[in-house]
């Protein structure tokens, strides 16, 4: 039986990595998925739907007017929005003394402000339904901090705090809000460009390997589905034992 039959989901950052894997998994479980990204959605044209449907939406999530119009159109089309997976995010690696503040501001715009805007808009639809699940992509470094990643970890720490506060505010409307805190994920980009640089860190992972995007997507599925109906306000690690 499909876990997301008749559910309407919005997935940001769907062009690659965890967002792409999550979009595909949601579709395989019967959802109608609005897959958002600023680029990289060409894969949708070649994708064969299995149980649901994927609708690619090429847009900048920092464009508030475009996001609002999209949310209104989805509501008009389907009458409900059941799942919001906020996965889009920028990442940087730089020591504190080398932080580029323009890059930092842009990262906050994408990782935090656009995420909060989407939560605000979609939760208004969900409040009327008195149901819904919001999943935010945090990071282990947002919980623990990381040498050489102050900027990125600060944005992800903000995602953790926003998730917990939203969960408290929306619980009375039966809307669940959770965050996922992955460790190092073996996205295509990471494997191609950064894996060698982080070889020592990979050795420090108790499981001895990077996470696959699909392994994080599996948690996105669980949190979207009714299987997790009593879970809210949680920050759940997918880190191969790094937290131990």
């Amino acid at each position: 039986m499909n876990m997301l039959t008749n559910k309407v989901a919005i997935v940001t950052g769907a062009g690659a990595g965890i967002g792409k894997a999550t979009s595909q998994l949601y579709e395989q479980e019967g959802a109608i998925v609005y897959a958002l990204d600023i680029k990289g959605l060409e894969w949708v044209a070649d994708y064969s739907a299995k149980a649901g449907k994927i609708i690619p939406v090429e847009m900048n999530i920092c464009d508030f007017n475009a996001v609002k119009t999209m949310v209104m159109n989805i509501k008009k089309e389907h009458g409900h929005i059941d799942v919001l997976a906020n996965i889009a995010g920028l990442i940087s690696y730089e020591y504190m003394s080398m932080i580029d503040f323009d890059k930092l501001r842009t990262m906050f715009e994408v990782n935090v402000i656009a995420l909060i805007n989407l939560m605000q808009l979609v939760s208004r639809i969900m409040t009327r339904q008195q149901s819904g699940s919001i999943i935010n992509m945090a990071s282990m470094v947002g919980v623990k901090g990381a040498k050489g990643q102050l900027s990125y970890s600060a944005t992800k720490g903000a995602v953790v705090a926003a998730t917990r506060s939203a969960a408290k505010e929306l619980a009375e409307n039966h809307i669940r809000v959770n965050a996922i805190a992955p460790g190092m994920v073996g996205s295509e980009r990471f494997k191609a460009v950064l894996a060698e640089k982080f070889a020592q860190k990979i050795n420090d992972i108790p499981f001895g390997r990077l996470a696959e995007p699909e392994e994080v997507a599996q948690l996105c599925l669980f949190l979207a589905a009714d299987s997790s109906s009593y879970i809210t306000g949680q920050i759940i690690g997918v880190d191969g034992g790094v937290v131990l």
Partner: protein
């Protein structure tokens, strides 16, 4: 039904009043049960009825009957 009648119906149902009571002073200061819950409910009902999505500042501005008219005008809804 005109847009004004739709708006009046929303207020009458939300605050359990007759349409004659919807005057210039029908606002948060003068209506006893006009709390934040009513304000959020009012914004949701207006959005559904007029098929719009209000900006946060518009929801905040929904503190009076006249204010609601002004908000609708912003969305090109003629009353």
């Amino acid at each position: 039904m005109t847009n004004l009648e739709k708006l009046n119906n929303i207020f009458c149902e939300m605050f359990s009043v007759n349409v004659e009571e919807l005057q210039a002073d029908f606002d948060r200061e003068h209506v006893a049960n006009w709390d934040s819950v009513h304000q959020v409910g009012l914004s949701s009902t207006i959005e559904d009825e007029f098929d719009i999505m209000l900006d946060p500042e518009d929801i905040i501005a929904l503190t009076s009957y006249e204010g609601a008219k002004s908000v609708l005008a912003k969305y090109d809804i003629e009353l």
